[in-house]
Structures are given as C-alpha cells and as structure tokens.
C-alpha cells in the first residue's frame, strides 16, 4: 500500500486521538518504526495489521474508524491540501460526484504510483446515486462514505450517504442529494494555494 495512505492514517490518529495512542497502535501492530514515509511503498498486509491494531487500541469497530478517517481527510487543517485537490473536481457537489469516476486518474496524475480503488458513479435519478468502488483494500467504501458526507457539507449540500455493504471486492454506497444548496458551505478559493 502506498505510504501516502498510511501516513494519512498516522496523521489522523495523531490529530484526533493523540500521539500516545499512535505509539500504542504501532506497538500493538508490531511495527518497529515511528512513522510511515509518504513517498515509500509498503506491503499490503501492513494496512490490514494497522487497522486491526487501531480497532484494538481505539476500541471501536473498523467501519467507524474508516469513516472517521474519511471525514478527517477533508476537514482537518493539517490535510487541507487534499480537500483542495478534491474541490477541483467540481463547482457543485453534484459535479463533484460526477468527478469521482476520474479520481484514480487524478491521483495518478499527482503521484504516478498511487493506485486508488476504481470508483463508478451511477445516477438513478436527479437525486439518487449509487457509487461502486472496487479495489484491494476492503473497507475503502467506509472511508469514501465519511469523505462524501463531509464534502457535501463542504459544498453546502444536504446529502444522505449510506454504506450498502459489499462483496466480491466491491462495495456499494448510496447517495441521496436532498438539497444542492442547503447551506453556504466552505469557501473554495481557486488561487489560495500557498506552497
């Protein structure tokens, strides 16, 4: 698994649960290093071991933790860059949903060896969507659910996102867009980037 993803998890634990928990998690997973390097590649099993250790130490089910990670990724100031990159996907939440198909390609454009699960958006009506994601990390759908809920807030849209379970490597999410402009949302200043 790409170090960027694992490092994001590390930031999440440190920012939301504190450094002491992170140390406990590393210990529980049996890792002999302090942190993940964003630009290195790790064995696939590292992610699984990490998740098991997190459920043990944080005493919460994996699906909750993964959703929290999704929320964290697009709302915490320490990972603001990611939220900005996602906002480039569209001017409205609906447009953003339509840009999800190209998310793996966008990620690859930035970091050539970063492989994300494939994401497919199906539009059942103007307000009903389902999202099918397929990849080798089971549970990614929960991360995506947390991320989508938070992005809806970010756009000021009122949306209902539900993880519909999965099987055979695919996970399905249902998204109901109740109101496209429910609140003001967070500002996205195209030129605000500071390197």
């Amino acid at each position: 698994m790409h170090g960027l993803a694992l490092r994001a998890v590390q930031l999440f634990v440190n920012d939301c649960h504190g450094a002491a928990k992170w140390a406990k998690i590393l210990n529980s997973a049996g890792f002999e290093f302090d942190e993940f390097e964003a630009m290195l590649d790790y064995e696939e099993e590292v992610a699984q071991k990490l998740l098991v250790a997190m459920t043990d130490v944080l005493e919460r089910p994996a699906s909750d933790i993964l959703e929290d990670i999704g929320t964290y990724l697009v709302s915490h100031p320490n990972v603001e860059a990611l939220r900005r990159l996602l906002r480039f996907g569209g001017v409205t939440f609906e447009e953003f949903l339509h840009s999800l198909d190209e998310l793996p390609d966008r990620a690859r454009l930035a970091v050539p060896d970063l492989v994300l699960p494939s994401i497919e958006l199906r539009e059942h009506s103007a307000v009903n969507f389902s999202i099918i994601c397929q990849g080798n990390f089971e549970g990614f759908g929960h991360v995506l659910a947390g991320l989508l809920r938070t992005m809806a807030d970010d756009y000021g849209a009122l949306a209902f996102v539900e993880h519909g379970g999965g099987g055979q490597g695919a996970e399905t999410l249902s998204v109901t867009l109740l109101e496209a402009t429910f609140s003001e949302g967070r500002k996205f200043d195209l030129g605000a980037h500071v390197a």
Partner: protein, 330 residues
C-alpha cells in the same frame, strides 16, 4: 461574400468566457463574463480595444488596420491597467466588419486566479486551466512530501556516518572508535601501550602506480596488523597512511620492541600489484601507560606522535619509545 451573423452572446459567453467583441471602429461592444472580472469597475463596452489591451506580438499593434493584418495569429497581449496581466489571444473577423478576440491567461494564470479571485465556474468546461491548477497543487504537494523524505534520509545518513566506527576500506576501526577506546581504557585505569605507525614511501606507491595499487597495499598492511597483534588489541586507521594500535596490558618494553620490529619487517616485504612491485616501510612511535598516572587520552596520542616523529627524523623504518626528553629536542 455571404454575410454571417455573430453567434448569440449567451453562446459565446459560455464557449469563450474571455472573449471581446470589437466593432469596425475598434470599440468594444461586448466582453465575456470572466473578462469583466479582470477589470472590475471598468465599463469595457464603449472603450477602444487598443486602449485596454496592448497587443505586443507578433508586433505592436497601433491601430485596427494593423490588427486586421494579424487575424488568426497567436497574440501576446498585456492589460494596460495594473497589474498588467499577461494574456494570450487570437482575433478573427466576426462577419460584420468587426473582430472577436478570444483571450486566455496563459502562463500567468496562477497570479490571475489570485488577483481576480476567479473560480472554476469562470473557465469554460473545455478549458484545461482548472486541471492545470489542480496539477500544480498536486505536484507541489507530492514534491514537498518527497523533499521531506529526502531531508529525513539525509539526516539519517549523516547520523549513521557519525556513529560509524569502521574504516570502510580496510575494515579496521576508525579514529572515532580509537578515541572512544582510549578514553575507556584511561577511565578504567587499565595499562596499555599505544603504537602509532606511519607508513614510509606509501605516497610514492600511490603516485607511481595509482590509487588502486595504494588501496591494495593498505589492505595488505591491515592484514599484517591483524596478524602481528593479539585478539584484544584495537587497530585503527586514523589517516591516509597512519595507523594506531592500542594494546591493553602489553606494557613490557622488550615485547613491544619485538612486535614493532616484526611489523616493520612485514611491511618491508614487497607486495605485487598487477605486475608492479610496491615497496614500503613503517615508522613507529610508542608510548606506554602504566594505568596509574593522571593522564589525558589526547596527551597520550600526542606522546605517541612525538615518538613517531623521532623515528622519522632518525631515518625511518624504526620504532621509538616516548620519552619526555624527546619534546626538548624538537
């Protein structure tokens, strides 16, 4: 010639939100919505296009006739108002005697987006500007991550080098390790002899036969030291052709004299390197510490050094034991 009509303004505003419509007299009749944001508070409509835009390339355009001569060419333009934003553009006839100039920010887009607070909606869906901005941000984030990794790796490498105690060529200890050992033995009050050996004529081998020959000789020298010393002795290469041997418990002068002589004899045996015969020798300065007197490890090293130079001055290829009188003579 068939007269064409200008497409509806809505159509052009969506397709080209940064276009300017100019009539035959050079006055602006309409501008796209994004361009309006670029000169806030200015009317645009009714202004003379060449008083708003300075067309610099392919050549400076002073009047409409000159503009008509470069239709279809790539134009390099600058806004006459501050901050003199750079633009790229192309002008084509509108079919009714005027021209339509379509503009883009080109490479100045990063500044323009900031200066004029533009959003994704200000760019046509076919315009790759937003993708370009995405790429700039994504790449600089990735670059930053790589840079941090490089810094951390470099830090780790430096730390590892500082902790290293081995001379990479010979596998003997290095000066750092020797300093630590000296300090340790002095602290414990354990008697020892310290032998400082400098190779004679080694520079000539290096200069005559090259560094590969020099390295070969050094490896051979390292083997000699290992063979001529005891298991507990600490052997370090402390300079290009300088070695120090710390011999714990070995304080009998006659033993040390024999060991020194055996080392010199072994060093003087010629070694072959690719058909060339390399000849060196060695000068030795030795100091014996009884383990009792209060002494600074650095002083002991210096004493050994003084004895070594006495050997050199006396004609090389010999061993001298340190005596305070040696300091008086130099």
């Amino acid at each position: 010639m068939m007269m064409m009509s200008i497409p509806k303004q809505d159509t052009l505003d969506i397709l080209c939100p940064m276009h300017v419509q100019v009539d035959a007299t050079g006055h602006i009749t309409h501008v796209g919505p994004t361009l309006r944001k670029v000169r806030p508070g200015k009317p645009w409509v009714g202004e003379r296009v060449l008083e708003v835009l300075r067309i610099m390339r392919p050549r400076e355009v002073m009047n409409m006739d000159e503009l008509f001569r470069i239709l279809g060419d790539k134009l390099h333009i600058e806004l006459r108002d501050a901050p003199r934003t750079g633009l790229k553009g192309v002008a084509m006839p509108d079919g009714t005697g005027g021209v339509i100039v379509n503009l883009t920010f080109g490479i100045s887009v990063l500044d323009a987006v900031r200066d004029f607070a533009l959003s994704s909606a200000d760019f046509a869906p076919t315009d790759l500007t937003v993708e370009m901005l995405y790429l700039v941000e994504a790449k600089s984030a990735a670059m930053e991550a790589s840079r941090k990794l490089n810094l951390r790796l470099q830090g780790a490498k430096l730390a590892a080098e500082q902790q290293a105690v081995t001379d990479t060529l010979t596998g003997l200890k290095n000066r750092r390790a020797m300093d630590q050992a000296l300090e340790k033995y002095v602290e414990m009050g354990r008697p020892f002899a310290l032998m400082h050996i400098d190779l004679d004529y080694f520079k000539a081998v290096n200069d005559t036969y090259g560094h590969a020959a020099g390295d070969h000789v050094l490896l051979n020298v390292a083997t000699i030291f290992r063979r001529m010393t005891r298991v507990g002795d600490i052997i370090a290469r402390v300079g290009g052709d300088e070695f120090v041997v710390l011999m714990p418990g070995n304080t009998v002068k006659s033993n040390l004299t024999r060991t020194g002589q055996r080392i010199i004899d072994a060093l003087e045996k010629p070694t072959d390197f690719k058909g060339e015969t390399c000849r060196i020798s060695g000068s030795i300065g030795t100091v014996i510490w009884n383990g009792r007197s209060d002494v600074n490890p650095e002083t002991l090293m210096d004493d050994a050094d003084v004895a070594l130079y006495a050997s050199k001055n006396a004609g090389r290829a010999r061993q001298t034991f340190y005596d305070p009188k040696l300091r008086d003579s130099t």
